[in-house]
């Protein structure tokens, strides 16, 4: 690779690392609400601090969302890819990272406006 190309890659790495750092250092409040959206509709909203299991119907069979100790993850997903379950536990610190099940058309995300 040319010198100029290494510099561009270096700048990109620095930008990415800086953005991640900013995201990690963002102040975290309380009173979060997590929403589950199917197609364009929010079908469920829950408090991540309340332990529960929610059953959600999707396009190819649906999935379950298990909430425990302020974190949530997908279990028993009826879809061919299983990417949503592999994404593992999400917590309040992963504020902008939604769990997405594309075959089911389901997105589970932290609602920023309800903080």
């Amino acid at each position: 690779m040319k010198r100029k190309e290494w510099i561009i890659i270096g700048v990109l790495v620095l930008l990415g690392a800086a953005a991640l750092l900013v995201q990690k250092l963002r102040p975290k409040g309380s009173g979060y609400v997590v929403a589950i959206q199917h197609r364009n509709q929010i079908v469920k909203e829950f408090d991540p601090m309340v332990d529960a299991v929610y059953q959600i119907d999707g396009d190819v069979g649906g999935l379950e969302v298990e909430v425990k100790d302020g974190k949530w993850h997908v279990i028993n997903e009826q879809c061919p890819n299983h990417v949503c379950a592999q994404m593992g536990w999400m917590g309040i610190e992963d504020t902008l990272l939604p769990i997405t099940c594309i075959p089911n058309n389901i997105v589970i995300f932290l609602e920023e406006g309800n903080r």
Binding site: L20, H82, M87, I102, V107
Partner: protein, 171 residues
Amino acid sequence: MTIEKNRRFSYLALLSAVAITLNLLESIYIGPIFGVLRLGLANIAALLALKLLGQKEMLIVNVMRVVIGNLLRGTIFGSTFWISGAGVVLSSLVMILLDKLDSSLLFTSICGSIAHSSGQVLIVAFLYQQAGMAAILMYLLLGSIPTGILIGIVARLVIKHIKPLRKDNDK
């Protein structure tokens, strides 16, 4: 002339087959790393097509990979199809631009990998109206660099052993 044409056509067919096979193998046997990041093995075939045949041929290989790959998986015209299509369109555009600028294979691979992930995230953010998806871009940006380097190294090793059929006017 005809032999040359036939040879190009054979290379194109072979690279398309390789791209489709790698795409299918990756989606079946190698899951996404950390839930979101894929290696992008099929990009090896795209890079080979770009360097050995030309830009038009790379586009053909990429289109074949998305259309036939999704057709074989049974996801044609579904959300997966449009998402992989968006990734391929953006990465193809970036790789063509870098090829015109005479960039190295490794740099083209890294930028193609970043563009592919970014295209997919942007279309998901648009389809699902989730602007927050943009936060994943940072993870993908950092993750795509090592995968791009890996794919670029593999492509470079392969190119050493194949005689390019590309002419200067393919640029």
